[in-house]
Structures are given as C-alpha cells and as structure tokens.
C-alpha cells in the first residue's frame, strides 16, 4: 500500500474508532517492512568544528594553529586509534567506538564550495548538484523502498521532502476536542494540501499517544535534544514503529567562546545519541545512525576564541551492527600547503559517498535505485556492517 493511502485509511479509521490500539494494529498490519532495518539521520546545523571533535592529536600543527582551543581539552581527550581522539564530552560515543559500534570519518565534505550555512545545509539535505528545495536524498530513498519516515520537527525538512514523510514535535498546547478534527476534515475536502497535512498530523498524533505518551515528557524540556531523541526512539520501536527518522541539533556556529560552547553542544549530542540507543533496545542491532554537518570551520582559531566558516568536517556512523572501532577517511594534514585555500581542512572524501554507502547497504538498494537517490556520487566499497 502506498504511504498516502495508508495514512488516509488510518486517519479515517481513527476518526471513527479513536482507539489507539486500533491504530497500532492498523500500522502493524499494513506497514511495508523488510527486515526492520532502520536509519536515523541527524543533522548538526551551524557547521560543527571537527578539529575540536575528532581531534588529530598527532598533527603537530594543531597546537600552533589553535593554542587556546587545544589547551582547553588536551588533558581529557578520549583516545581512539592512530592518534585520533574524541572530545572529552563524547564519553558515550567513545564507549561505542571501543565496542566497535562507531565509525568516525575524518575530513569529509559534501562538495559544497561556498561557506554559507543555509545554502550548505540545503545542499547537504537535497543531495543534488543543484539544490532542489522540494526533494531530499533521504526522501528519495524512503520512496524507493516504500519506507515510513518521520521528521522530529514541525514541518518536513528538505532531507525528507518528496517522500510522504510525517512530522511530529511535542506540543506545548492543550489538545483540541476530537470533533473539531472531524469538522476540519470536512472543511478541507477540496484543499489537497490542508487535508493531507491534517490527516498526517492526526495519524502521527495517534501513534505518538500510544507509543510516546506524555509520561516521560517534562514540559520545559520537551524541545531538548535528549527528550526528542527519547521520543524518536519510542516512535521507532517494535513492529509499529517508523523505519526512518530525522533529528536536528542546532547551535554549532561557534565564532566565539568555542571551548565552552562545544563542550555543552557535544555533551547534548552524546547524551541524545545514548538516549536513542537506550530507547531502541534490541532494535539498536538493526539501526544505523548517521550524524553530519554542512561544513567545517577554519583550522586557525580566530580573534575571539572561536573559528570561522571553513570546508571539511567530520561525520559519524553508528549502530549495533556497524563494523566500527576505526577512524575512516584520509587525513590531509594541517600544513599551510595542505589546507583548502590555505585556511580550511582539505576534504579527502565526499559526505554523499558515505551516505550512499549507508543507505544502499542498510536498505539493499540496487545500483539503479541508488542512482535515483544520489545521481552524482558512487557508493564506496567498504563494508559498513558486520555479518
């Protein structure tokens, strides 16, 4: 069954019967599943500084280019292999690495050549050589494999556009009476956009009522990454859960006071990812989480204890079956002639080639299907999953 029809029939059902269990049953009965392989896509908005996150301690230029920034974390770094280390705030990710469940990748770039956040994010989400705001790479993959996708957001981000992805975000408002929805359904019958969105909102609301509930949600904390991650895990759990979800975390644009700000940000990321894993329980084994950002930052610290917009950054692939415990990607070096435009970390691999590898291996995409998702990049030969 197509996603749209599915949602429609489900919304109709729930308006009539309005029992959460009926919805759960409807979901499990009709959802197209294949091995329950799940993808979670996490976008870090604001250009995360990789040199402060996945730290190349072996590169002697680092302390010259960033004396203050490096000093702020040097003594507490969490060592990986080959002289790479994680920021002290990433203690959970460090454990995942040691267990072989994390793959950090150094010096990646989407190929986006300018240094605008907003354009860079659209580029990363769209996954095409020319940004198209109406279609995203994950949405295309979701369509291809008839997966159910959910954005933990008020509206669909570009990454998931072109698919029938739903959106869910915790509400701070008291809910309206059920009969209002029925009247609205009637009033929207000639308005394709509004009726689709209302049906979608209703379906996800019912799902969230059953699977998330309000039990763990502290009103004040509702919008925090860790809370959103918990809810996200709940909405993906079991046979009723969605196959694919997208989370976003902003606050990475650290032009000043970076040491303090990144400690806080990375801690939020680390704890949120842990909450995802904890919430997914056994499902973690079939889940892959990909974390990426629009670009990196200048290798040299600036005049205000921060860094400005750069080019290459890092990304992470994690999950219960990930063939992890090593740092992927090639290190380009930090000497002046090794930098991009003599100021940024030089990209040595393309973000999309890694994303293509993740989707194609996790969801078994054929080469033709992958071409429709990422027309301009090829997957890599590396085997990302064990077994």
């Amino acid at each position: 069954m197509q996603r749209r029809q599915f949602i429609k029939s489900m919304a109709a059902t729930l308006v009539l019967f309005k029992t959460p269990n009926a919805v759960a049953k409807a979901l499990s009965a009709t959802s197209p599943k294949s091995g329950n392989k799940k993808i979670i896509w996490v976008v870090l908005r604001g250009a995360m500084d990789s040199l402060h996150t996945l730290v190349p301690t072996f590169d002697t230029e680092l302390s010259v280019l960033r004396p203050k920034l490096l000093a702020s974390i040097k003594d507490d770094l969490l060592m990986l292999d080959n002289g790479f280390a994680l920021h002290p705030s990433l203690s959970n990710l460090h454990q995942w690495y040691k267990k072989g469940e994390l793959l950090p990748i150094t010096a990646v770039s989407s190929g986006y050549a300018k240094r605008s956040h907003f354009d860079g994010q659209d580029y990363l989400e769209s996954g095409l050589t020319n940004i198209d705001h109406d279609t995203g790479w994950l949405g295309r993959a979701v369509n291809m494999k008839e997966k159910q996708a959910l954005a933990i957001a008020n509206s669909t981000p570009i990454s998931l556009r072109s698919s029938e992805a739903s959106t869910w975000y915790p509400s701070q408002l008291k809910e309206a009476d059920e009969d209002v929805y029925q009247a609205l359904m009637k009033m929207y019958q000639n308005d394709e956009l509004l009726i689709n969105r209302l049906e979608d909102g209703l379906a996800v609301k019912e799902m969230a009522d059953t699977m998330v509930g309000d039990r763990a949600l502290n009103i004040k904390k509702k919008g925090q990454f860790i809370e959103l991650s918990k809810s996200c895990a709940n909405l993906m759990m079991g046979n009723n859960g969605v196959d694919c979800a997208m989370l976003e975390l902003g606050g990475w644009d650290t032009h000043n006071n970076q040491a303090t700000r990144l400690s806080r940000q990375l801690k939020a990321l680390d704890q949120g990812l842990k909450a995802l894993k904890d919430g997914l329980k056994d499902q973690w084994q079939d889940t892959v989480v990909v974390v990426a950002t629009e670009f990196g930052r200048t290798v040299k610290e600036n005049g205000t204890g921060g860094t400005d917009h750069g080019t290459a950054s890092a990304m992470f692939i994690a999950g219960g079956s990930v063939n992890g415990g090593k740092v992927l990607g090639n290190w380009p070096g930090l000497k002046n002639n090794q930098l991009f435009e003599q100021r940024d970390l030089m990209p040595t691999s393309n973000t999309f080639s890694w994303l293509a590898t993740v989707v194609s291996q996790q969801w078994s995409l054929s080469d033709n299907q992958l071409k429709a998702v990422f027309p301009h990049v090829d997957k890599r030969t590396v085997k990302l999953f064990v077994g």
Binding site: R115, S116, A183, H309
Partner: protein
C-alpha cells in the same frame, strides 16, 4: 477568489480589523500607499527601556550580584555550601532582568501590530526585522535583541536601504550577535601595544552575513577575499562599555582597526584610522549594488506576493531600487502598483506570527490574551520572537510552516483561543466572519463554520479555514 480589498488587507497587511474591509473597499491601492506616508511608520510604547537603558540595568544587576557574592562570602566564611545558600538569600531580590525585557519589548511590537491602522508598515518592519535577524541567547542578547528593530530598523523603514543597513550594522545588538564588537585587526594598535600578551584578531562572522544575507545574497558574486576585506573594513566597530565610562551604543575603537586599504568587489577603499568611514563606504556601496537590489526585491516579492514571484515584477522593483538609491518606500509603491501583485489566488501560507496577529485582529479585542500568553503562543507555534537561532531568520516558505505537526499545533491554539473568548455575550462568529472575509469565503467553509456544534468550535473552524490560513 479574492476581491482587491481582501487582497490589500491580507496580502499586504496583517488581516482585517472589524470594519476595515469596508473602509478599504473604495480604493485599496491608495489605502496601502497612504500608509507608506505615515510618520512615524510604526509607533512603539516608548516608555519601555532603550538599549542604553538596558545596558545600564544589566550593569547594575551584575554589580549587585558581585556585591551579594562578596557579602555572602564574608558571612559564610570558608564553608562553600553555606556561601552558596547565603548568596541565594542576598541576591533573591536582584533578578536578571533579561527575560522580562525580552517579553515586554517583543510583545509590545505584536500588540501594536494587532491594533494598528497601518498594518502594512508593521508587516514591513517584521520583514526587515527578520531580514536582519538577531537571536535572544545569553543574558545580553536576550535583553537587547528586540531593541534592534525599534532603534535601527523602524526609524529607517521607509528611507534608503543604505541608511537602514548602516544603522543596523552599527547597533549593539547586531555587533554583539555576530561577534564584531571584539573583532580587531591583527596589525592594529591594540596588538602592537599588547606586547604579545593578549593577541586579538579578526572575526569574520558579521562581514560574511552582511554579504550573504543582508546585501548581495549567497549568489551575489562575492569571494572569500571579499569577506575578509569587509571584515577588516569594519574592525573596531564595537560597543561602548558602561562599566568603563565609555558611554553607550556604537563605539568605533580606532586602535582596533586594521590599518590599510582593502579591496572589496574590485574596488579599493582607503584606510581610515580616525573614524568608521572605511567600513561605512563599503556598506553604502554594497547597499546600492545591483545584486543587493535584486536580492532584496526578490525577498520582498516572495514575502508579500508569491513564492514564485514573476521575473517582470522583480525587474520593476530592481529598476526602481536603482533609480531611487534603494528607497524602500518607492520600491514598495512599485510593488503595490504592479498588476502582478494582485492575482486573485492566495498563494502564501501564513507564518505563525502572521496567523496569531491576524487572528487577534479579526476578533478585535486583544485584551483576551495577555502579553505573556502571546509569547507562549508564538513559542508553541514555533516562532517565538527573536528565536530564529540563525542570522538567516525564520523561513518565509509555506513548506516550513504547514507540516502535519504544525497544523495540529495551530488547531490546538485556535481551540484554546476560542474557548477563552466569552462567546455567549460578546462575540458573534457571523460578524467576525464578515469582518475577516467579506464575501471572500467558499460556501463549504461558510457552511461548515455556521453549522458547527458550538460557538467555540465555529470560531476554531473560522481561524483554521483555508481562507484564513492563507493570504
């Protein structure tokens, strides 16, 4: 299909107040253009504190806190836990004023927009406030973010863009938000005097956003070297510190300015150590650059008219921009006079801010919602003032506001508002319907609203109707 008065009131303004549609009906265009001669274009409650007042308040607060800490230490001796609790007792009365100021100042703007007879001007103010978006994060920005639109944007709203740009880029809120207040040249006097002790340097955040967001646009043809040149040109553009008796507001720190001539977009700008002239010249040229004219004309047409604004419309606006040195009033008159602006279909989906303001205008009595609730409403709908979180501001695209979850939040909000109104006595849904739509409502919407099972539900349906959600 909407009538011209309906279009004037909704597409260009913040929706109809009671009887406004009738008032406009005679000559919708003139009604709009006349608003652009209003002086001042928008008026705030000026008894609320200015940015200078706020800096003084914040300074006082910090000083009190320090004193309290000292007293607590003396009282509690070396016992740290006791110190902390004593500090709590002593500082109890000295509350950080930032959040209260944010709420007061931003809800004043919304309140004025709800009551205004010149809602076109408020729409324009909100457009430029979002164009020059600043976010309330951290104690200083939380308190001063809303002062940017009051002090730098409103006074220049209908004037030339170069004055608006300069005024914004020299306002403490923008300088602090994009970290320029401490961006100094590596070869500046400060570094030479510093004896290597405390090196300072460039921060290119503001310069990049001026080029990318505020003027030329991301495809406006600038390079990294232009970003660096502009960043150097505005080094030393800083903010006075109250505690050091520097006065208040913009302060040009000559000893932090990078010496030398810099080339921006192929043009060289002479060094100027004594004053801020070098950067000012750069900004004035950027404001009048054809790419800027196009970038902002496009954004205006996208905001007011359609997400696919016709090229012919943009061209008219650009032409007027270049002929009038970027006179915003003239460009707006061109937009209003253009036939492309009056297509009958409503193509824009209201943002939460537009939705909340137009809802309260339609009811005609905003005392039902106090200002704190107003802020909470916008927060629940995803558009809390000064919380865009990025200098690009809030999205102006319908797709970013009409997701399933967002629609559910709007329904909940409409229902909550409707239940707050004491319908039985004061509110007549039919009257509000006629105030809001005149005859511009489909039979289906009209009937569904009238046949609702209660007045509360009817009001919720009215606000959530396709006709009310779009403009």
């Amino acid at each position: 299909m909407a009538t011209t008065s309906m279009i004037a009131v909704n597409r260009f303004g913040y929706g109809a107040k009671p009887n406004e549609l009738i008032l406009v009906a005679q000559s919708p265009k003139e009604w709009l253009i006349k608003q652009l001669s209003q002086s001042p274009p928008v008026a705030f409650n000026y008894s609320l504190p200015s940015s200078s007042d706020i800096f003084i308040q914040l300074h006082g607060y910090r000083k009190n806190k320090k004193v309290a800490k000292k007293i607590a230490q003396e009282l509690a001796g070396k016992d740290f836990d006791k110190q902390m609790s004593m500090e709590g007792v002593v500082t109890k009365k000295a509350r950080n004023p930032a959040h209260k100021l944010l709420n007061q100042l931003s809800s004043d703007a919304i309140d004025q927009a709800i009551r205004s007879d010149h809602s076109l001007n408020w729409r324009l103010l909100d457009f430029f406030s979002n164009h020059f978006s600043v976010s309330a994060s951290g104690p200083v920005m939380t308190a001063i973010a809303p002062t940017l639109e009051r002090e730098a944007i409103a006074p220049n709203l209908l004037g030339n863009f170069e004055d608006l740009l300069l005024s914004v880029c020299q306002h403490p809120a923008m300088l602090i938000y994009l970290n320029n207040e401490r961006s100094f040249g590596t070869n500046s006097q400060i570094n030479k005097n510093g004896r290597g002790k405390k090196k300072v340097g460039l921060n290119e955040n503001l310069a990049r956003e001026i080029l990318e967001l505020h003027t030329l646009g991301v495809n406006g043809g600038y390079q990294q070297q232009d970003v660096t040149a502009l960043a150097k040109g505005i080094t030393g553009w800083s903010v006075a510190r109250i505690g050091r008796d520097e006065g208040s507001g913009f302060l040009y720190r000559a000893n932090g300015h990078e010496p030398g001539s810099f080339t921006l977009l192929g043009k060289s700008y002479k060094k100027s150590r004594k004053n801020a002239k070098q950067g000012e010249m750069m900004l004035r040229d950027l404001a009048n650059h054809p790419a800027t004219a196009r970038h902002i004309s496009f954004k205006l047409a996208y905001h007011f008219i359609s997400e696919q604004p016709p090229e012919s419309l943009i061209n008219k606006m650009v032409k007027r921009w270049l002929a009038t040195k970027g006179n915003i009033r003239e460009v707006m008159i061109t937009l209003i006079n253009a036939e492309e602006s009056w297509h009958a279909d409503s193509q824009k989906f209201k943002t939460p801010r537009e939705f909340v303001i137009s809802s309260l205008r339609s009811i005609g009595d905003n005392k039902k919602l106090n200002l704190r609730q107003l802020m909470k409403s916008l927060s629940a709908l995803g558009q809390k003032p000064f919380s865009a979180g990025s200098p690009a501001g809030f999205s102006d695209s319908g797709n970013d506001w009409n997701g399933g979850s967002a629609i559910m939040a709007r329904i909940n909000w409409s229902a909550a508002l409707s239940s707050k109104l004491s319908f039985k006595h004061t509110v007549n849904v039919e009257t509000i319907m006629s105030n809001s739509f005149g005859k511009n409502i489909s039979e289906l919407s009209y009937n569904t609203i009238l046949r609702a099972e209660s007045k509360e539900q009817a009001m919720t349906l009215l606000l959530m109707s396709p006709e009310f959600q779009r403009r």
